[in-house]
Amino acid sequence: MRLIVSEAAFDPGFEVNDFTAKPVGAGAIVSFTGLVRGDGSASGMMIEHYPGMTEKAISAIMDQARLRWNLLDSLVIHRFGKLAVGEPIMMVAVAGIHRSEAFQAADFLMDYLKSRAPFWKKEIGADRAEWVASKPADEAALKRW
């Protein structure tokens, strides 16, 4: 299990290879990469977080996933600070024996990270900056698990 909360950019391909090389006996690696979308006039994003709680909350979510799906390994990277459109915001990777558990665990991690890890996004446009509102669908997604 590895968790990185950092302002620094990361290289999703490097992380996928590094992660894939480690777990012995894995048959299935699922990765998710979230990118800054740049809807409308947005030129980038500012991500605020709660140092300390962020690490605790994500570690707890990763522990849950590991036990529930018997994962061989998992990785979460989440950035904060200023990001440009197209940049990777975050990444999740899980290694399982079979594909269905790997897909479920990655999907679960994303749902929980979205609504339970203390990050807040602010969309930056040419002449405006607006906090992204949470979506009822994101909170509802947690009920799937």
Partner: protein, 82 residues
Amino acid sequence: MIDVLYFAWVRERIGLPRETVETGAETVSGLIAELVARDERYALAFSDLASLRVALDQELAGFDAPLKGVREVAFFPPMTGG
């Protein structure tokens, strides 16, 4: 003495990221009432509790949670990470 932290638009409305507060409040709601009584910035930040979340010592909690033994309270909007 308790550390109170604010994030995202709560921080912006109140105008500071954290402060140390002397309080006799027994619950989160009691603390909010004391803060709101201070001035308009707090009243504005706490005007709609449904759009706020609270964490006690870095764990999500309810507004009726007791403050006894708590060292750090944080107020923020629903999270939007991922």
